[in-house]
Symmetry: C2
Subunit: 415 residues, 2 copies
């Protein structure tokens, strides 16, 4: 049974349309939140939703929300993703989940498939870490998880996040109070590219996400002494740069010793930047990710110890500041079974995996039964201009999404 | 016999005067070459020279030169140093060699000491590495060692060095042709702070420099792959930042294994700077210094090998570009003997050491018999606001300089 036949041509056309709305001064496909092109992109999504027959608008948190009434009022199903990108990112991350959801609605209408549930399609605002260091703004606001302190975060120019929101058409005095009543939502399903190589290397068309990774991020400051590079002996210098370099390698080493853990140093700066002066201060920003909360805690403790060892070996002060740990988030098991049944019915090859990337689904899962469907990323590349998911895989993902939603609506409403 | 009695009060007054001519927007005492305060500082030196009875002017390379005629024409002795500073530097580096030389002239005149030689006092232009990456501009121009290619070096804003020279009152069309005839100069002696801890730790008042360090500087570029930090396995990522961090530690390790060698990473930058993206490119700038040419070459080869090992372990490309090696420069042995005799006659405690810093004396030594006298740096600190040399040590150094010059003039004219 094919309940719906999404058209690859329409998916391609919509993705191309969004790929044309980017900051041409930046590499790749750049449509970062709180930019004019992101405003333009979200208005384009609004037009696409209305064109597909949805009753659509933008809420107080910048989320684009389209609704298709159900045959029986009172219960809803939600699908969607985001269309903002990282700086220098690709055309598929997030975008396919929004374009696929809208195409699913078109195909339902063409096949005269009518759901009992109201269908809610969402393009969440600012999913990627923005220049204020905040991510998943739209889903946090929708679930009531955005905090007043978040509005006080500043960017590199000292601008408050709250004061930047009006450039995105968002009233900062309203964003904290625009949480939706989600008690009537029986499921949220997000279609997304994998952003890693697992599905491709296992020959799978669809990935069912069991867990979304936990993340622990830190900022480490190393304080040494500014000295003449030619006259200060190696045994007496206090080189903050060397202590930081040792800590960069510790991040790599700790993660490499685990099975699923990842460890990354995102940035490292030396002060002063002079070839003939010993580095006085170094600042690094990094993170660990993994599906196991216990390992994450272990990695953080081990790294803090390693940084202090690197510092004490050089008489350099060390201050490691950890942000609150984002715990790993399991997806709804009952919903995963429904996804598996839908995918198997379609004859698609599937794998079960965990997501190493953060997603709005991890926020939504705290309030609504949630699942994620992944489609393969060529060579596992993402957050770069080379990011690619083949059109037939996106179409297969959209078909799987449609069959999953149809099953939930008809047979498998999760508790 | 005291041929001259320099006055500590006048030295202190002149150093304080120069310490007042600094860029107050920068930390420490900042008077970098090619800034208005450096122009002001060199004009202040011109006034000091004329006040001391020297016939003084500024040459085509920005050097401030004052002359005191000798009793017999034809032969000259030269003394001096520089008054430009590093960004955020101290009040003594270079300055004491200029102020001490001028005070020596005053004390000679007061004691009615007349030399057979003409005495030439110099404040060299732009000794410290300037924002074009060039150092010892004045001494290079004076010795005919400034090259046309040097004028084409650009700063961080793309400005040519040649095009920046007029802001320092220097005509770029003349600077390459203003070499002096130095064949009549029997000796150049530079008084300078040690900038390291050797004299203080050995209880010495005066240091005789045997050799000025050699320097090898490099720029290393690491090319990895931009990937999603959450989804790209540790075993497949190509992290340019980790390869660079390993190379920073290699610089430290190679230098630490030698007796006198120094190794420093001056700057390190990661691109992009995003916590959730694997570093695609890293650029580092560093150097080795040492008094032995053979060790320097060994250090460079070992570091290049280590960088390539760090790269190949992570499938990261590595390009290490070495600037031409500045060879270690020995001071004139006969002149050192004269310095030693003068210091011993004064009853000052002395050490023989090498200079880990570069100096105009290393340029002058290629043309003129050259020596350097060091005075202690408190705690070995230099190129920082905490840089300090006690006034009595500066006065002792000035006295040693005067006695050395007197001896050369009367008894020990080097061949």
């Amino acid at each position: 049974m094919r309940v719906s036949a999404p058209l690859a041509e329409r998916i391609e056309f919509d993705l191309d349309t969004l790929a044309g709305i980017v900051d041409t001064d930046r590499s790749g496909w750049t449509r970062t939140a709180l930019s004019q092109v992101d405003n333009d992109g979200r208005y384009e999504v609004l037009r696409m939703m209305r064109g597909a027959g949805l009753v659509a608008d933008i809420d107080g948190a910048g989320n684009v929300i389209g609704r298709l009434p159900g045959r029986r009022s009172g219960r809803s199903l939600m699908i969607g993703s985001h269309v903002d990108t990282v700086d220098g990112g690709g055309r598929f991350d997030g975008n396919i989940g929004v374009v696929g959801a809208i195409e699913m609605v078109r195909s339902f209408r063409e096949a005269d498939v009518q759901l009992d549930h109201e269908l809610v399609v969402v393009a969440f605002f600012s999913e990627e870490p923005n220049r204020f260091g905040l991510s998943c703004i739209g889903s946090r606001a929708m679930t009531g998880r955005l905090r007043p302190a978040d509005l006080d975060r500043t960017d590199g120019h000292g601008l408050r996040f709250g004061d930047a929101l009006p450039t995105a058409g968002i009233d900062p005095s309203r964003i904290l109070s625009c949480a939706m009543d989600l008690s009537t939502v029986d499921a949220f399903v997000e279609l997304h590219i994998e952003q890693g190589p697992y599905l491709e290397s296992h020959g799978s068309q669809i990935g069912l996400v069991e867990t979304i990774t936990g993340i622990s991020r830190f900022r480490a400051l190393f304080g040494g002494r500014r000295d003449h590079a030619g006259t200060t002996g190696m045994d007496v210098r206090r080189d903050a740069g060397c202590a930081a370099a040792g800590t960069v390698l510790a991040v790599e080493r700790i993660a490499s010793q685990s099975l699923h853990g990842k460890g990354t140093t995102g940035s490292l700066t030396f002060t002063p930047e002079a070839v003939n002066v010993v580095t006085e201060r170094a600042e690094m920003v990094g993170e660990f990710r993994g599906p196991e909360s216990g390992w994450l805690r272990h990695a953080c403790e081990t790294l803090t110890e390693a940084a202090h060892l690197e510092g004490s070996a050089r008489n350099v002060t060390v201050d490691v500041e950890w942000l609150p740990q984002q715990e790993p988030v399991p997806m709804n098991e009952r919903l995963l079974d429904v996804c598996a049944a839908a995918v198997d019915e379609l004859g698609f090859r599937r794998s079960t995996l965990f997501s190493g990337a953060e997603h709005d689904a991890a926020i939504m899962a705290q309030v609504v039964p949630t699942a994620m469907l992944f489609v393969p990323s060529v060579a596992g590349r993402s957050h770069c201009p080379e990011e690619l998911t083949e059109l037939n895989d996106i179409t297969a993902g959209t078909t799987a999404l449609a069959h999953t939603i149809f099953r939930i609506d008809r047979f498998d409403r999760p508790a």
